[in-house]
């Protein structure tokens, strides 16, 4: 009916185009009326008008397409709503059906062998999802019972490991890891080499939770695949393996041929595992890094010179390209250059050295203080900061002057941690003196003293 009306309207509009009487509103009205009459009485009228005005035809067709698109999107919205409501209702109904059965199996009132009677063929994957939620609440014997309940349906899940969608494969790895790790451990290990980093990460997380050293090594060997992930997140994942992973992590940390990011992650994992013996290793790594720093310094100077040249060039380019340095300066640029921008170029192995210094701070002994002192004068402010943090724990009276000097460091972070280190070494007098006078860094002293009160 609507389509008919639209064609009719099209005809009427076409009539105004062909009718010379359309110069006035009255004329238009007559033309519309005439066109509507003709569209009823002359079967070929609309067809002929359309052929003689192709642009009009195109326009009307476009409107029709847009109208159909609106209807399609509208239909999609309603369909999604109905489908989701139906799915939710079905899910609630199935849960209500399954829950008493699963609970009775967990209580030992029923055996899991009759599971097939409770789950219809098309609901198998829903049932596995349902059981996966139970695994978060149970362990040990109960978890085994849940796995037993899932057993008949797991081949269906395993089939998803070969699906095209990475998300589907990842989900299959996750489900199999929770419900039947021992049976599908080979598949999960293979998933570490999946082309999708997401699938590989899910596999790594699954393996890390298993607390088996034989699964640790493959994960550590493939850490390079996760270079985009946050190092702290990776370290946290590896630390869930537990103390059994420590020897392999120490090996990965000590191995100089490994990527420095991988070594940094290993060091951070050792710290999270409270691995006391890694402090000696950290001292060795720090000494090695200091040795190789001479070369790094040369590189740094070269980069620094290049950077200065490119900054000048950039400013010039910015002016030429239409950036408005005046506006930017007035609006956002600080009065003095932002400290972090001028606090030196990051050390190429910044994360590795910082993680090692963290290890020294956490588990080091006074004899490790020398390795921390090696980085007190680093051109990278992050390394200076971690060096002072380490000295706060393993340093002694001879470091007080060094720490006091660091209160005037160009980086506020270094000054803050030097102040905390002074407090840890019991040299609070220096802080009190600073807190009593008005100096740019007096706030730091006051803050650190207030922290000690809390």
């Amino acid at each position: 009916m609507k389509v008919f009306a639209r064609i009719l309207l099209g005809g009427a509009i076409a009539a105004t185009l062909v009718s010379p009487a359309s110069a006035t509103f009255a004329g238009q009205k007559d033309a519309y009326a005439a066109a509507i009459r003709r569209s009823f009485t002359e079967p070929d009228f609309l067809y002929n008008v359309a052929l003689s005005h192709p642009f009009l035809l195109f326009l009307i067709a476009s409107i029709a397409v847009l109208f159909i698109m609106s209807c399609v999107f509208c239909g999609l919205a309603v369909t999604y709503r109905r489908r989701n409501n139906a799915m939710a209702a079905r899910w609630i109904r199935m849960e209500a059906e399954w829950e008493p059965y699963v609970v009775s199996v967990l209580n030992g009132e029923q055996l899991p062998v009759s599971v097939g009677d409770h789950v219809r063929g098309e609901d198998r994957l829903y049932f596995v999802d349902f059981l996966t939620r139970f695994t978060m609440r149970f362990q040990g014997e109960e978890l085994e019972k849940i796995s037993e309940l899932a057993r008949p349906f797991l081949p269906d899940v395993a089939a998803h490991l070969h699906m095209k969608s990475a998300a589907q494969r990842a989900r299959a790895v996750q489900t199999l890891g929770v419900l039947a790790f021992s049976r599908y451990s080979v598949e999960i290990l293979n998933a570490l080499d999946d082309e999708s980093p997401l699938v590989a990460m899910i596999a790594a997380r699954t393996l890390s939770k298993k607390e088996h050293p034989e699964y640790v090594e493959p994960v550590i060997l493939r850490l390079y695949r996760f270079h985009q992930w946050s190092p702290k997140f990776l370290a946290s994942m590896l630390s869930t393996i537990g103390p059994k992973a420590a020897p392999l992590l120490r090996k990965a940390y000590a191995e100089r041929s490994n990527d420095s990011q991988v070594r940094a992650v290993a060091a951070e994992s050792l710290r999270m595992l409270n691995d006391l013996s890694s402090a000696d290793l950290a001292a060795t790594v720090l000494a090695e890094e200091k040795e190789s720093e001479t070369l790094t310094d040369r590189e740094k100077r070269r980069r620094s010179a290049e950077s200065a040249r490119s900054s000048e060039k950039e400013m010039e380019e910015a002016r030429l390209e239409g950036f408005d340095p005046g506006v930017a300066a007035a609006s956002s640029a600080p009065v003095e250059p932002v400290r972090e921008a001028v606090e030196g170029i990051p050390h190429p192995h910044r994360d590795l050295i910082a993680s090692s210094l963290r290890l020294v701070r956490s588990f080091g002994r006074p004899e490790h203080a020398d390795t921390a002192r090696l980085f007190c004068d680093s051109s990278d402010f992050v390394l200076r900061e971690f060096a002072f943090r380490a000295l706060g724990r393993v340093g002694g009276g001879e470091d007080v002057q060094r720490l006091q000097d660091a209160l005037d460091d160009s980086s506020v972070w270094v000054a803050l941690h030097a102040a905390r280190a002074l407090r840890e070494l019991g040299a609070e007098n220096a802080l009190r003196t600073l807190a009593e006078i008005e100096q740019p860094r007096s706030d730091i002293a006051r803050q650190v003293l207030a922290e000690s009160v809390r």
Partner: protein
Amino acid sequence: MTNEQAWWILNSFNYAVLAYFFLLNTTYLATSIFAFVGLRRYSRRLKALDIESLITSTGAPAITVIAPAFNEELTCVTTVKSLLELRYPDYEIMIVNDGSTDEMLPRLKAAFELVRVPRADTANIPTMQIRGIYRSERYENLWVVDKENGGKADSLNAGINFCRTSLFCSMDADCLLERDALTRIVRPFLENSDTIAAGGLIRIANDSVIAGGRVAEVRFPRKWLVGFQVLEYLRAFFSGRMGWDVLGVTLVISGAFGLYKRSVVVDAGGYSTSTVGEDMELVVRLHRHCRTNDIPYEIGFVADPIAWTQAPETIRGLARQRDRWQRGLMESLSNHRGILFNPKFGKIGFLGFPYFYFLEMMGPVIEFGGYITFLAVVFLATPPVIYVLAFLAVSIVYGIVLSVSSVALEELSYRRYPKSGDLVRLLLFSIFENFGYRQMITVFRFKGVISSLFRVTEWGKADRTGFDGVCQRENDRKRVARSMKMKISEAAR
């Protein structure tokens, strides 16, 4: 100028307007399609990566939530309570009192037992003078920075100066974050260490039931003006932000809710205090900073972390808001116009920036002019039917297609309006917004263009009813209690 010449110019302009509408709406349609792909991909990914395990993970980076507040005495306590209940392992809350003249600070002091403490700054972005730093005796992670009035950007900069964590979340003090909002928005930072900024989704809370600092029951707003804004937000965030994110061209992160890497923002100079669109300006500047310094970076949009906000309920309030947004957009784009078609900026320079520059920034002028000339032609002369038909097709019918598509995207993804009546309303609003509302918004944005040309810098006063007020107005405590009880039992299960 002869009549013929004038007529020719008018006709040319009319066809330029048609071309503009067609281009704009086709871009929207394209981004809607990308958004559809992106949302499907993202929802599958969500199923694969368990959100709960992220919450308990010790690898979650610490976050400082910075909420600038000016005269928010009605909402501040509710907002802070809601922030204290966020499910995230390691975060600080920093409320920045931007020289409020109402009872906001005393209320905060009383509600959270604030005491004055020393705290050193960690960056030196220039701001108005800091009057004091307060810490809650009851909640260790709650801080209040009290400063002289300097505007929202200035307050955010003050918050950044006192931020000690590697990430900070900027939000409006009149917003409510969903409990898992931080856990969800931090995901891009975990998955890619090059991520420097991510934006979340903003939804409208007017008329929803707020209890205990959280949205207990989502309801579709009763006022038509707010209803239209709900639809607009859906379109802006799903079709707009999500679609552009799939293309890797995120140029806007809403000031109401975004997560940033602190060090990069500090290096870039913090928020600009000379624009009212500091959120967009910062994102554009971050692109510029990273590209010119060869810093590898990612800026993205995440569709499931949600911040609830209050939309203006009066036409005057809406007019002020849109005026301000348009001014902000124009200032941000004008200050960085060097990005336009600059090969150094890749997709940003050739796709995202031109879209915002030509279609969003100049759009209101063309659209406004188009409506005027359309009306002039219709009422003062005999219009060519093809023109009338084409105008209606590209401006009205195409607009309806886009609005309905954003409702479909909402249904595909998160379905936050559960009642069937809400869906019907959304679909009806999709049609009716094209007959009056959209034109009204064009007028407000056009006014923003004029204001920007005359260098108007005022922020515009916002009307606030307060989230507590929303709840009381509902006068439906039993319903709230029942809803909360259901949620608690759901969580317990």
